[in-house]
């Protein structure tokens, strides 16, 4: 069942286009083709100037996020057969400034990921370690689902709050913060609390949950954020009764689990 399929791509070349515009291409169709394969076909056969990011083509490098019929998706893991014979519209990820064609400026997103202190924080710096610390499979399982983020940005394109106010830290960054807070080897929760508690931290989320739906790696940032809210409330109550956040131990989030 090889025929043709029409792909519409949003174009924007900042040096010559006053506005983004749509261009349609009729492509040879094969059922195993991904959206990324379609973009390659356009670039190689029809318009060598089409700009898009890609690399691994196996859904792990996070380069090829885009809007497919208005839904944030990875181009390499979206298949034409799921749309054929209908036409498909491909646009750049929503909520980010467009650089050119399907390439958006992700710097704000990447800066937010970096701002949540996404590394192990220890009370005392270890010397050159001589052996691995122990961590049971159960302790590993507490944070591992939140450690699967590939920084593709789909959840930001899905997040209505980020679309309205890009000061909101957003799903991936808050999930990443949660990942480190839940790691049994980490002691940095108190350092991350101000970010989490801030107006633009977990409380910026209105629990639409679309971020978790579009995540290609099953990270569930919405769950992370709402577990974070519980930690934040516990911290607030402790603050009221005069306990410092630094004393907040492992137990605090245990309560917030499930």
């Amino acid at each position: 069942m090889n025929g043709t399929i029409v792909i519409e791509v949003q174009r924007y070349r900042p040096e010559q286009d006053p506005h983004p515009w749509w261009q349609a291409f009729e492509l040879d169709y094969r059922p195993e083709m991904s959206v990324l394969d379609a973009l390659h076909q356009i670039r190689d056969r029809h318009d060598s100037g089409l700009a898009y990011r890609w690399s691994c083509r196996m859904a792990i490098c996070g380069s090829c996020g885009l809007m497919v019929d208005g839904v944030p998706r990875l181009g390499c893991k979206t298949f034409l057969r799921d749309y054929y014979p209908d036409r498909i519209r491909l646009g750049p990820l929503a909520h980010f400034p467009i650089e050119r064609d399907l390439i958006v400026d992700l710097r704000d997103f990447l800066d937010k990921l970096a701002a949540v202190k996404p590394y192990l924080i220890r009370a005392a710096q270890d010397e050159r370690p001589s052996e691995p610390r122990r961590q049971t499979p159960a302790q590993l399982a507490r944070f591992l689902p939140f450690a699967q983020c590939i920084s593709c940005g789909l959840c930001y394109a899905a997040c209505p709050e980020y679309g309205l106010n890009n000061r909101f830290f957003g799903p991936a960054a808050l999930a990443l913060l949660h990942r480190y807070n839940r790691d049994s080897r980490d002691q940095g929760r108190a350092e991350r609390l101000p970010t989490m508690n801030a107006e633009d931290g977990v409380w910026g989320c209105t629990f639409v949950g679309y971020c978790s739906q579009v995540c290609p790696k099953g990270v569930d940032p919405a769950a992370a954020i709402n577990q974070g809210k519980i930690v934040s409330v516990i911290d607030y109550v402790r603050h009221l009764v005069g306990l410092s956040p630094a004393t907040l131990g492992q137990d605090a989030t245990q309560e917030g689990e499930r």
Binding site: V6, Q10, R13, P14, E15, Q16, D17, H19, P20, W21, W22, Q23, A24, F25, E26, E32, R43, H46, D47, S48, G49, A51, Y52, R53, W54, S55, C56, R57, M58, A59, I60, C61, G62, S63, K77, E99, R100, I103, D105, A114, P118, Y119, L120, D126, R128, P129, S130, P132, R133, R134, T136, P137, L140, L144, A147, Q148, I150, S151, Y180, D183
Partner: protein, 616 residues
């Protein structure tokens, strides 16, 4: 957003071009160390340099955002002796015999001693290594390894390793990232490297980044072939950069085919599948590896090290080729010849715990669920054993220039790399390179030389001259022709005639490349230009590969011939191949001795045979 709708199909609207961008230098940056490539090797080097000397300026230059680097796609694990009954000399012997005795044995010794400490360091930086019930790090079996010593993070080891390094690097203010900067050339003056010239893809600006030491960490060159496991960015950039400056490339004929790529796409299916007990079947459901010196057949669910499916990659890929010749592979209507990787006996729980990514990939890209069906697989180009010649300290022959990771040839892998040695390699030698570069930075000063600026201008002009709307040759067509030529002549098995044909084709492609058509003059993400620049790198690397292969008139490791040179010839070829770039024709091929310390060349044997003392 108000977009113009529609238009006729394929009508390239708007023929007007922007005024040809005036690429002037927006800035000239001075730093202590420039690192090109921000995958595992580049990041590990950056961390080592920043830890050694927090006051240093480190420019981390990558053509992508670091997390997009191809380290991210490594699946199976990283080798390092950790079990009480395992021994460093066993890791050494497995590596040296796996490399068919072309390894630099002093380098292998250094590597196995440092391996576990580096993996432990990763643990302390937060890497989520998979664990045993008591919380100790788990290890799995891997091809060619005599004991389980491969640390893993499920089947996303590269992803977690890269994430850990990247996030840890965020702690160091001295590390300044230049994301989406494509390195056009090295700056060499007064006999040493003095920096790089890079194109800022977003801004179109060309930056002169002056440095006291430069570390190349750009990964391999799998994209010289058409069917490969590598990401689109794996275009041999660093290899070509060093090579053009007359730094020799070593052992470039050794290109690893991974035995289990998904047909059609080449997407990697980890050797960890076989480490966990997966088996390979031909069209008759027969475990064909027993016919190729890897048997006796092991019971299903009881994998034995260095036997059957846990043989080394070169042997397994060669076995596929023989099965194909005998007509014992399956013929898929779209994908061609495949064999089957059967994981069903592992059960859903174990597959989901240890191999969740493989399940995700097989479902998405082969439309099979390995819990219920075998995965169709075939060999795919995976890894370049050779690379920029370095010594044990990651230093090249060009003063100030280091190379690390897949782009380097430390001599660790010899003629065939064992799976899970390369992730550890980039940690061990990344650290060494970072420390060595920091040392040089402490004792060198930057020249304020206007000559560098002139050289940078010339580099920019050369790159710019590739933009040629009147060119007659299509870049995608040249790229595809290169991939096909490499597969035709430089595949799993080779002949003099086939290799010569490939060499001739590459020479012709290089001529045609001079007339490559690049129409886009934009300064913003000019990916058409970028692809043309990358193709130039690919062609040079491919040329080094094929001429190195022609010169090796024997069969060893991943270089196997079907003509008069079917066996290993230690008399004449227990030596490295050195390929030196020449402007006006094919490279000059030379040789260099192999360092043997404790393991004299012996018969390589696996399976039942390998249990004897012959190879140890």
């Amino acid at each position: 957003m108000a977009g113009q709708e529609g238009g006729a199909l394929d009508s390239a609207s708007g023929t007007d071009r922007p005024p040809s961008g005036s690429l002037s230098f927006v800035d000239s940056i001075k730093t202590d160390i420039a690192i090109v490539g921000a995958g595992g090797a580049g990041l590990r080097a950056a961390l080592a340099a920043a830890e050694a000397r927090p006051d240093l300026g480190i420019a981390l230059i990558s053509k992508v955002v670091p997390m997009r680097s191809h380290t991210v796609a490594a699946e199976g694990g990283a080798a390092g002796v950790v079990q009480a009954h395992d021994r460093l000399e066993d890791h050494f012997n497995d590596t040296v015999s796996g490399g068919d005795w072309l390894c630099e044995q002093d380098v292998v010794e250094f590597f196995v001693r440092r391996a576990a400490a580096e993996l432990t360091q990763l643990e302390h930086w937060g890497c989520p290594w998979s664990r045993q019930a008591d919380g100790r790090v788990a290890v799995r079996a891997f091809g060619g390894m005599g004991t389980e010593r491969t640390w893993y993070a499920a089947d996303k080891t590269g992803f977690h390793l890269l994430t850990t390094l990247f996030q840890t690097a965020l702690r160091h203010p001295g590390i300044r990232r230049f994301d989406e900067h494509f390195c056009l050339d090295l700056l060499v003056a007064d006999g040493r490297v003095q920096g790089v010239v890079a194109l800022d893809l977003a801004a179109g600006a060309i930056r002169l980044i002056q440095a006291k030491a430069v570390i190349l960490a750009t990964g391999g060159a799998g994209r010289v072939y058409r069917f490969n496991t590598n990401g689109g960015i794996v275009t041999g950039d660093g290899l070509a950069l060093a090579y053009r400056h007359r730094v020799p490339l070593r052992d470039m004929e050794f290109v690893q085919y991974h035995p289990t790529g998904l047909p059609g796409t080449g997407v990697l299916v980890t050797e960890g599948c076989r480490g966990e007990g997966g088996i390979l079947l031909n069209r008759d459901g027969y475990r064909y590896l027993q016919d190729y010196g890897l048997g006796p057949e092991t019971p299903i669910g009881q994998p034995r090290n260095r036997t059957m499916e846990l043989g080394p990659r070169d042997r397994l890929s060669q076995a596929f080729w023989f099965e194909q010749q005998k007509g014992r592979t399956l013929r898929h209507p779209v994908w061609g010849d495949v064999v089957q990787l059967d994981l069903r006996h592992l059960g859903e729980a174990r597959i989901d715990e240890r191999l969740p990514f493989v399940r995700e990939l097989a479902r998405a890209y082969a439309n099979v669920d390995p819990v219920h069906e075998p995965i169709p697989v075939r060999p795919a180009v995976h890894y370049t054993m050779g690379g920029i010649e370095t010594d044990c300290r990651a230093a090249t022959r060009l003063p100030g220039l280091f190379a690390v990771g897949e782009c380097a040839s430390t001599g660790l892998h010899g003629a065939n790399r064992l799976g899970s040695n390369s992730l550890t390699e980039l940690l061990v030698f990344g650290r060494v390179a970072g420390e060595e570069a920091a040392q040089i930075a402490a004792t060198t000063s930057l020249d304020a030389s206007p000559a560098l600026r002139r050289e940078a201008d010339a580099i920019a002009a050369r790159a710019r001259s590739l933009i040629n709307p009147d060119g007659q040759e299509s870049v995608p067509a040249l790229r595809d022709a290169l991939g096909e030529a490499m597969e035709a002549g430089l595949g799993i098995f080779r002949t003099e005639e086939g290799m010569q044909q490939t060499a001739d084709q590459i020479a012709s492609l290089k001529r045609r490349y001079r007339a490559a058509r690049v129409t886009d003059r934009s300064n913003v993400f000019n990916t058409e230009w970028l692809q043309a620049l990358e193709l130039g790198f690919l062609l040079d690397v491919a040329e080094a590969m094929v001429h190195s292969a022609l010169a090796r008139r024997e069969s060893r490791g991943a270089h196997h011939r079907l003509d008069a040179y079917r066996s290993r010839d230690d008399e004449r070829f227990l030596k490295h191949t050195l390929s030196r770039f020449r402007d006006d024709g094919p490279p000059e091929i030379g040789h260099a001795p192999v360092t043997i310390t404790t393991s004299p060349p012996a018969q390589r044997s696996y399976g039942g045979d390998g249990r004897g003392s012959g190879e140890r």
